[in-house]
């Protein structure tokens, strides 16, 4: 199992070579089996022919003697046949009368006269069934002795088939060696052929980029001209790689624009925020003009002007800051949340929503995180909460810094996130067209900081908690 799993991780060229070697081995086994079984059939046919001739010869020669139970003549015939036989195949022959009593044998010590032939017929087979296939180096053949159709006895002959078995074993070894050589050769050849054929695929894999990396296009001169299918595949890949680059570029621009979108969404509130004090400030200047001789009135009006202008200065500073922060590389601080409040509170006021603002964390804990992304995360979530909460509803921001993390919780009493909004916030699924990118930007920023997002909906309250890991173990 482990080996199989590991096999799956090997380069495809080696896997294909090994697979073709395995198939060759399988083919070799099947072919060898065929060759050996054919050889076995031929050997058996030869052996049966030999046994048949031998037994037929003996039957003709011995029939009359067996009929007359002439022990000497049976022995004499067997003995002379034994000494005259050229091959060594016949090891032993025994002849009995029709009642199974031994008349004579080539080796009378093994089969004494008048003993029972049953000792030899046990594992003997008829001539037509003689085979060297069962691996025994000696096979026994039995045949009836008949004279003019009358059964007069029985012959059992032991044949030495060790040469046939050797032949079969040698053939098997030769096949094994040949197949092993052929398999090795073809596996190596297969490796080189496959490696060559898969070169474009490797090229493709190489340009795909390592895990997580962006694909980059294959240079035109590396695309093979010979294989139109592969060339088309590689060109398609190049087009896809270009499209992916264009898309991520578009996403990047979109994310950048999102910041202005947030500000845009605040613009009317912020315009009111600037416009509202302006009436008072203009009244103050009229008052100064009308009562220039009354120093206490002028001083009061100047104080009023000073307060109004300071507020305007803070608001514009916060807007400028929001526009600028991502490039500053600043660390997060409590001032960032004050800025956010300055920017965001007018929106809640406009919508007559209550804003709960609880920064329960010290600067030291905040400083371990960069300012720009956290501000963007908080602003986007707050804007989302404010638009989700009904007129006169409630929006809250809570910052907590337990051990090692910064928890940023934004809650509202709106109807909760829609499925598509949740998908944008919680998953990497492609953004469905038509929806905003604010929540997806939150997700990407949180992922970029190595944090997690939790969504909780209970008792009519929606709470989204972003947990960001902090360097340094201090807690607030």
């Amino acid at each position: 199992m482990t080996v199989l799993r590991r096999f799956g991780t090997w380069p495809i060229t080696i896997r294909l070579a090994l697979a073709s070697a395995a198939l060759m081995v399988l083919l070799g086994l099947v072919a060898s089996q065929q060759v050996l079984s054919t050889l076995g059939r031929l050997q058996d046919a030869r052996l049966q022919e030999y046994a048949r001739l031998h037994v037929e010869g003996l039957t003709v020669a011995l029939g009359p003697f067996a009929l007359h139970k002439d022990v000497w003549e049976v022995y004499d015939t067997l003995d002379r046949a034994r000494t005259n036989s050229s091959g060594e195949r016949i090891l032993f022959t025994v002849v009995s009368d029709e009642r199974g009593r031994v008349l004579a044998a080539t080796d009378p010590l093994r089969a004494p006269v008048d003993s029972s032939i049953a000792d030899f017929t046990g594992d003997a087979v008829p001539v037509s069934e003689v085979t060297a296939a069962n691996g025994a180096s000696v096979v026994r053949v039995m045949a009836p002795l008949t004279v003019q159709g009358r059964d007069v006895g029985q012959v059992v002959t032991e044949l030495d088939v060790s040469d046939l078995i050797d032949q079969r074993r040698n053939a098997a070894l030769a096949l094994l060696a040949g197949n092993a050589l052929a398999t090795l050769t073809l596996a190596l050849a297969g490796y080189f052929v496959v490696a060559r054929m898969l070169k474009p695929v490797e090229l493709l894999a190489h340009h795909m980029g390592e895990a997580g990396g962006a694909p980059h296009p294959i240079p035109d001169d590396a695309i093979p001209r010979s294989d139109s299918v592969l060339a088309r595949l590689l060109r398609n890949f190049n087009e896809m790689a270009g499209a992916i680059t264009a898309r991520s570029e578009a996403e990047r621009r979109l994310a950048e624009r999102e910041r202005f979108v947030s500000l845009g969404r605040l613009s009317s509130s912020l315009a009111h925020e600037i416009n509202n004090p302006l009436g008072g400030l203009l009244n103050a200047t009229d008052t100064i003009r009308s009562y220039a001789e009354r120093p206490e009135v002028v001083r009061e009006s100047a104080d009023l002007l000073d307060r109004g202008l300071r507020h305007l200065r803070d608001v514009s500073r916060a807007i400028l800051e929001e526009n600028r922060v991502d490039r500053s590389g600043r660390r997060l601080s409590a001032a960032d949340f004050e800025d956010l409040r300055l920017l965001f509170e007018p929106e809640t006021i406009r919508r007559r929503q209550r804003l709960a603002w609880d920064i329960g964390c010290c600067d030291e804990a905040l400083a371990s995180l960069p300012s720009a992304p956290v501000r963007q995360i908080a602003l986007n979530l707050l804007l989302n909460a404010s638009s989700a909460a009904p007129e006169g509803g409630e929006v809250s921001l809570g910052i907590r810094g337990p051990d090692g993390v910064l928890d940023l919780a934004v809650a509202d009493d709106g109807p909760g996130l829609s499925d598509s909004a949740r998908a944008r916030l919680m998953s990497e699924a492609p953004v469905a067209p038509g929806g905003g990118v604010g929540l997806r930007l939150v997700r990407d920023l949180v992922a970029g900081l190595g944090g997690t997002i939790a969504y909780d909906r209970s008792e009519g309250r929606t709470e989204i908690t972003v947990s960001l890991p902090r360097r340094g173990a201090g807690s607030c």
Binding site: D70, V71, W72, Y75, D76, D79, R80, A104, D107, P108, L109, P112, V113, D114
Partner: protein, 282 residues
């Protein structure tokens, strides 16, 4: 000296026997039996040419498988003379006349041997009860009568004493049967066994002699008694007795390990006659 010079199988029997059936007017026919002399072509040819040369006329050697057949051939006239065994000679004593007796190792005598396999522990005939025994021929003295009469002395008969007895119709075959283990024991011509011990020691080496009989008359040459006065037979008798004087005859006798052929005396066979009487009395 090798076995070809002395003995071989029985393959040539048919080829040598067939010319005898077409008898030419001037052809002398001598009967032989493989019981005693196996049909090695060289021995047969040497004997034939030696006799032909000495007789001055063609001599046919007629072989039959058994003593009974060859004895019958003498009696019915289909052979003129034959080399037979002392036992059938005595059985047909009245109808046969003695032409000569071979001399072996200086005497016209031989023994019957009782043999067993070389590794058999038997010490005598009595140890062989209930086993398989090989005789050479029911009409052979050394190959049957001696053992049968020995058994008669023990109050036994071959068919009761042995579990089975077989006839091999050849003394060499008896040695083969015992050496090969087909039978436990055998009755064999001592002259044949001793000769085989010289020319084919690998065969006799696998056997062991457990008993030797007394010296008995060597198998003689005989002819029908009523034809003994025929000129041709008398001439053949002279040729026989002078065989060792001619080079061809000498060569043939050397092949047979015989010294010469001597004039015979029927008393030579008294020992056999005594055994016949013992066997018959049982």
């Amino acid at each position: 000296m090798d076995r070809r010079r002395f003995i071989a199988g029985t393959a040539a029997v048919g080829a040598l026997a067939s010319p005898a059936l077409a008898r030419g007017a001037a052809t002398f026919r001598l009967g032989l039996t493989p019981v005693f002399l196996d049909n090695d072509a060289v021995v047969i040819e040497r004997l034939r040419s030696a006799f032909s040369e000495a007789m001055g006329e063609p001599v046919d050697l007629i072989q039959r498988r058994t003593y009974q057949e060859i004895t019958a051939s003498i009696l019915d006239g289909s052979v003129d003379a034959a080399w037979i065994c002392g036992y059938p000679f005595l059985q047909h004593r009245d109808g046969l006349s003695l032409l000569g007796v071979p001399v072996w190792r200086g005497r016209p005598l031989y023994q019957s041997y009782l043999i067993v396999r070389e590794d058999d522990a038997a010490a005598g005939l009595g140890d062989l009860r209930g086993d398989v025994h090989a005789f050479s021929d029911p009409d052979s003295n050394s190959g049957f009568l001696v053992t049968a009469s020995d058994l008669a002395r023990m109050g036994e008969a071959p068919e009761r004493f042995f579990a089975r007895s077989i006839f091999t119709y050849g003394h060499r075959n008896v040695v083969r049967a015992v050496a090969g283990g087909l039978t436990r024991s055998g009755s064999v011509d001592g002259y044949v066994w001793e000769t085989l011990a010289v020319v084919e020691p690998s065969l006799t080496g696998r056997t062991r002699v457990v008993a030797r009989s007394e010296w008995l008359g060597f198998p003689p040459f005989a002819a029908r008694a009523d034809r003994a006065a025929d000129a041709e037979l008398r001439r053949f008798g002279k040729v026989l007795l002078g065989l060792d004087a001619t080079p061809a005859g000498r060569a043939a006798l050397d092949l047979l390990f015989l010294d010469r052929i001597a004039p015979g005396d029927a008393t030579l066979f008294d020992g056999i006659a005594a055994r016949m009487a013992e066997a018959a009395a049982r």
